[in-house]
């Protein structure tokens, strides 16, 4: 059974054998609300004996079940094997034009573990840039940019592949909305990735999140009851370990309750490419490079200079002083001395 690969004649195989190879094949039936076939039955036989009434209720025709099952199994096999696919070593974005059609003239290659800062006013083209990467633009978007993976134009089918989505996003407005505990929530995410050791990875994510969060939380806490800082910490830990996407966009994450620098290190440590939209100088200087957006295009590509890096200590000291003043204010003290 090691030989299952896309377009195998799945429907002729006995369900017991299929489940041994790919336990999540079970989800096909549960997601449609169908009882599981017997282990010694082929899905072909099983589909043949589903009452017409049940099919009516499902809104699916009998002959379609087989096609859908095959598509579903193809998906599982792709998910299972994706670890064996070629890893992303580099993503290259070739400049196009800005809103006025002026050429951008840049070529940016980013690699796992890199941090790139993104600066520029709202509406300056940051979202379009992300969308170009997501869409694997090939000169066919308003910016005319092109995106290469490992130096080559990607397979067009990749555009629509959920398993190969390039960008994960984390922003201020995002919240957990599911009614689950932390452990249940992370387990659900890990299961959707069809990982082998779901319990192990779940424990790892929760431990990492607790390292990032100011105040600790337990696996049994409902995700909706987490504080702002704890939520961000869990999102970062979860994205670093479980997200499909090699690129993570962090959009102006607030400073409260989470150590943002450690958060970035966590993502980078898991081999993510971090794009950070921020106008906080301390965060921006974590980037190796900085993309400057203007008028829908990239106006400049700045390397963080040694002088800028040297300033980091000074900026941190200013930040610490301002934080102390804020805390004093919060505590009801006077802030009449500098």
């Amino acid at each position: 059974m090691e030989t299952l690969h896309p377009t195998s004649g799945y429907t002729a195989l006995l369900l017991g054998d299929l489940l041994r190879e790919l336990p999540r094949a079970e989800d096909f039936f549960t997601s449609l609300g169908l009882p599981l076939p017997a282990g010694d039955e082929s899905t072909e036989t099983y589909f043949g004996r589903i009452p017409a009434e049940t099919l009516e209720d499902l809104g699916i025709e009998r002959r379609e079940l087989g096609e859908r099952f095959t598509a579903f199994m193809d998906l599982l096999v792709v998910l299972r094997d994706k670890g064996n696919g070629p890893a992303i070593e580099a993503i290259t974005i070739l400049g196009g034009v800005d809103k006025d059609g002026a050429p951008e003239d840049f070529s940016l290659t980013i690699r796992p573990g890199e941090v790139i800062s993104i600066v520029g006013p709202t509406g300056s083209g940051k979202s379009r840039f992300l969308a170009d990467i997501e869409w694997l633009a090939q000169g066919d978007t308003p910016t005319r940019r092109r995106v290469l993976i490992n130096g080559c134009a990607p397979d067009p089918a990749r555009r629509f592949s959920l398993e190969q989505k390039l960008v994960a996003q984390l922003s201020q407005n995002m919240n957990f909305v599911m009614d689950l505990t932390v452990a249940e929530f992370i387990t659900m995410h890990a299961e959707s990735r069809m990982l082998g050791d779901v319990a192990g990875i779940t424990a790892t994510v929760i431990a990492k999140a607790n390292e990032l969060a100011g105040e600790r939380f337990s696996p049994h806490t409902p995700v909706t009851a987490l504080s702002g800082g704890q939520s961000r910490a869990l999102m970062i830990a979860d994205t670093s370990c479980l997200s499909i996407s090699p690129i993570v966009l962090i959009d102006e994450i607030e400073n409260a309750g989470i150590d943002r620098r450690r958060a970035v290190h966590t993502l980078v440590g898991e081999g993510k490419i971090v794009l950070m939209a921020t106008h906080d100088p301390i965060l921006a200087l974590m980037g190796d490079r900085r993309l400057v957006f203007r008028n829908g295009g990239i106006a400049a590509l700045l390397e963080t200079s040694p002088a800028e890096r040297a300033n980091l200590a000074a900026f941190e000291e200013m930040d610490a002083r301002l934080t102390a003043v804020r805390n004093a204010l919060r505590n009801g003290e006077r802030i009449d001395r500098l």
């Binding site: 997601s31 449609l32 809104g59 699916i60 659900m188």
Partner: protein
């Protein structure tokens, strides 16, 4: 002219994403018109017109809106042709979980939102399961994990569809959606075309206007919960 059917639960963001796609297409010179199917009332026509998109409304009253859709879509197509559209979008409020306006060989889109919960994809019938393209909205307010799990659940019930995230507020993904819609097949006539799935005739006495409760008043297609 190209025809696209767009269906999805109420308030899932159908109008928002259609507007985003239409605006992106307009920049490329593509003329888009919309016909909105709903039950009792809808403010969608005004929303479209405010954006300069020609729109019409069809209200089904107390009929299933999808049944009403099938009885009217041929005429809608004629209206679209006469109006000179390149793309006609039929937006239907997915009020009936059992019916769907999707037609064979006509590009079928389902719009659902991330907030509706991970069990939702399993609960929606042919409207989602028979769509060619599933648009997921409201990703801006949930976590990455929830977006990924939700999209995965959609793939489980419709493994053949193209699944994409579009944000109705910021417009992210709207351009790409527009490109896909503009690439749909031309539809010259719908006469003789088939629905993707039969729409069950809801034929109990209550469909026919009965209001009294009790077994004596129930006729036709009646099914009872089994409490045994």
């Amino acid at each position: 002219m190209r025809l696209v059917t767009v269906a999805g639960p109420p308030s899932s963001g159908k109008t928002a994403v259609i507007i985003r796609a239409a605006e992106a297409l307009r920049a490329d010179g593509v003329r888009v018109g919309v016909i909105k199917f709903d039950c009792l009332s809808t403010g969608d026509q005004a929303l479209y017109e405010r954006k300069g998109i020609t729109a019409r409304t069809g209200l089904s009253g107390n009929l299933c809106p999808d049944h009403f859709f099938v009885s009217n879509i041929q005429e809608c197509l004629q209206w679209g042709e006469q109006s000179g559209f390149d793309l006609l979008v039929a937006e239907s409020a997915g009020l009936c979980n059992r019916c769907a306006p999707h037609i064979k060989d006509v590009c079928a889109v389902c719009v659902i939102d991330n907030l509706s919960g991970v069990e939702t994809p399993r609960k929606i019938g042919p409207m989602l399961k028979m769509a060619d393209l599933v648009v997921i909205t409201k990703g801006d307010i949930v976590s990455q994990a929830e977006r990924e799990v939700f999209a995965h659940r959609v793939r489980q019930v419709n493994p053949g569809a193209v699944v994409m995230q579009v944000n109705g507020l910021t417009g992210q993904g709207g351009y790409e959606l527009g490109r896909l819609l503009a690439g749909a097949e031309e539809t010259v006539s719908l006469t003789g075309r088939l629905l993707r799935f039969s729409m069950p005739a809801a034929l109990c006495s209550y469909c026919l206007g009965q209001r009294k409760i009790g077994s004596d008043f129930q006729m036709g297609n009646v099914r009872k919960i089994d409490f045994s």
